[in-house]
């Protein structure tokens, strides 16, 4: 065998052609550029701040705020509360509208997404029109529309629309009875707990029953009855024996407005309506894509095994569709949370409005305020995507 080795030149490495060397060079250039940029920004900022005599640091969070906020979940008053409290109020307001929004938008989104795949031509078309219209108009325009065009035309408090059952609607928002919990409330809570435990036990029993005899039990109906029915029944019974655990404070007419009861600000309603209807259009598309992603072969296989269409949907299609749906669904939830910052346009006191608006203006501490606000959103995003990644890893279809 002729050897090739003897012909080779000794392996002399040319430094410049080593990909590793080049890589390091590029990265050094990048780091230098970034560091330079940051350095410039920082020195400029420091100089500008000094010139403008703006104090820096986060000490301002302990200063008295001196203004009021229309909706706060914690005690907040101009007299005693600090900018830090205002931050918490804003954050909680953002979270509450996001959470409630996510709840409703999920229901609406799934409904419309499934409707788009309906065999009923009308239903499918109407759902399609909904999706196309809602997602092609900016959320801001929709919010302003809801707030100004729809809620703005509601009557003044003196002519409130009475909707019965303690519900009133006027230009100041939606008013409803406020529950006041009596001493017997614990009974109700206990009933709920019993319902939950009972459901759990029943489900275990049903499973065992199946394993032994093959008989299937109506799990869904019983669950509903136990969790909802039991507490309601208890309540009715308690009410009948005169130990009503919940009484309601009804809104009454005051000089300017209805007083008492529970008031839901029109800003909140408009924001919620806008976020829910808008995001639902996107969720509908996610759901549709998820269901379509399950290949036809899967339902054919299920069919050829004799499963009914209902069973096919429940046991084969939905479990697989959910894996496809959940990641984009989460990012829609995140979008909803981020979009709630548009509250600033209609005066709902969310984080951006309260903190990046009022607090920033009253204190002038732009950098700190912006950093904190962005930090909050970033944290929410990162935590969510972290959970998402964990979830994805767990449900990923196991492959070789």
């Amino acid at each position: 065998m002729q050897t090739v080795v003897s012909q080779t030149s000794p392996p002399r490495k040319s430094f410049l052609y080593d990909p590793k060397v080049r890589g390091i060079f590029y990265q050094v250039v990048l780091v230098a550029a970034v560091v330079y940029l940051f350095y410039m920004a920082a020195t400029n900022a420091i100089e500008n701040l000094q010139r403008a005599k703006i104090a820096s640091g986060f000490g301002f969070l302990n200063n008295t705020a001196g203004f009021d906020i229309s909706q706060s979940l914690i005690q907040f008053s101009a007299a005693g509360s600090t900018y830090g409290d205002a931050f918490i109020v804003g954050l909680l307001n953002t979270l509450i509208v996001s959470i409630i929004g996510i709840f409703f938008t999920t229901i609406l989104g799934f409904t419309i997404g499934i409707a788009r795949l309906s065999k009923n031509w009308m239903v499918a078309k109407v759902a399609m029109v909904y999706v196309e219209v809602l997602r092609n108009i900016p959320l801001l325009v929709q919010l302003l529309f809801w707030y100004i065009a729809v809620l703005g035309t509601l009557p003044q408090p003196r002519n409130s629309l009475e909707m019965g059952a303690g519900f009133y609607l006027n230009s100041r928002g939606l008013f409803m009875a406020k529950p006041i919990y009596g001493p017997n409330i614990s009974v109700l809570v206990a009933a709920l707990a019993i319902g939950l435990v009972g459901t759990f036990l029943y489900r275990r029993w049903a499973k065992k029953q199946q394993e032994q005899t093959g008989r299937q039990s109506p799990v869904g109906k019983v669950t509903l009855a136990l969790i909802l029915g039991l507490p309601i029944l208890t309540w009715i019974v308690l009410a009948l024996v005169g130990a009503n655990p919940i009484t309601f404070e009804l809104p009454r007419k005051g000089t300017f407005n209805l007083t008492g009861g529970l008031q839901i600000l029109p800003e909140f309603v408009a924001l919620l309506l806008g976020l829910v209807t808008y995001t639902a259009a996107f969720i509908a598309e996610v759901v549709r894509a998820g269901i379509l992603a399950v290949s036809k072969g899967q339902s054919e296989a299920a069919g050829s095994l004799g499963l009914t269409p209902g069973q096919t949907l429940r046991l084969v299609v939905i479990p697989q569709a959910m894996r496809v749906i959940i990641p984009p669904l989460t990012s829609q939830y995140l979008n909803l949370t981020k979009n709630s910052s548009l509250a600033v346009a209609i005066g709902y006191p969310d984080l951006v409005q309260v903190f990046m608006g009022t607090v920033l203006n009253q204190t002038g501490q732009a950098i700190e305020v912006v950093v904190i606000t962005m930090g909050v959103y970033l944290t929410i995003s990162l935590v969510t995507s972290f959970i998402m990644n964990v979830y994805n890893r767990r449900v990923a279809i196991v492959e070789r």
């Binding site: 032994q212 093959g214 299937q216 054919e300 279809i397």
Partner: protein, 238 residues
Amino acid sequence: MIDVHKWYGEFHVLRDINLNVRRGERIVICGPSGSGKSTMIRCINRLEEHQKGRIIVDGTELLNDLKRIDEVRREVGMVFQHFNLFPHLTILENCTLAPIWVKKMPKKEAEEIAMHYLKRVKIPEQANKYPGQLSGGQQQRVAIARSLCMSPKIMLFDEPTSALDPEMVKEVLDTMVGLADEGMTMLCVTHEMGFARQVADRVIFMDYGQIVEMNTPDEFFKNPQHERTRLFLSQILH
């Protein structure tokens, strides 16, 4: 099947199909791509609807009647080209799903049966893995086992080996030969002529949605009658 016709929109896929399969008979169907083989076999368990003619399976005629379709599907097992296992369930769960939900069988019993058939196709040790972790040949064998768990009277195979690597074809064919030897009624779309020779009672050649030729394997390979068949065989057998 008596005088069955089927259209996809304007397209006449199945034309005048007449076929009587006796119990225990093993039939291999071949023909060029697009000739309607899959469509025919899918009509038998009503994955597709035919528009004219009658299909009678084990005494039950296939009509627009959900109850009957269910009955028929319980009698007829089907194995697809692309396996169509449920990727979110383990092998065992794949096999027990239908017995539990359709036959209302206790889980324990279903699992025993499943294990029995998994042994039958020689992969009991994979029972707790997921389909994605198996090789193609193993997956196809699971698909066969899954169908068998419903103890069907008839098995339909739609090109069960064409998505497999050559080395795995044999495993699956062996399994199918085993089944055939046990006397299962089988309709099998395949181009594996070796298999056809070995087990088929009749070979059917289809083209343009029609049955062009039907014969015993010996006759079919040695002495094809129709010109189209000869052409086809010359291509297949190199």
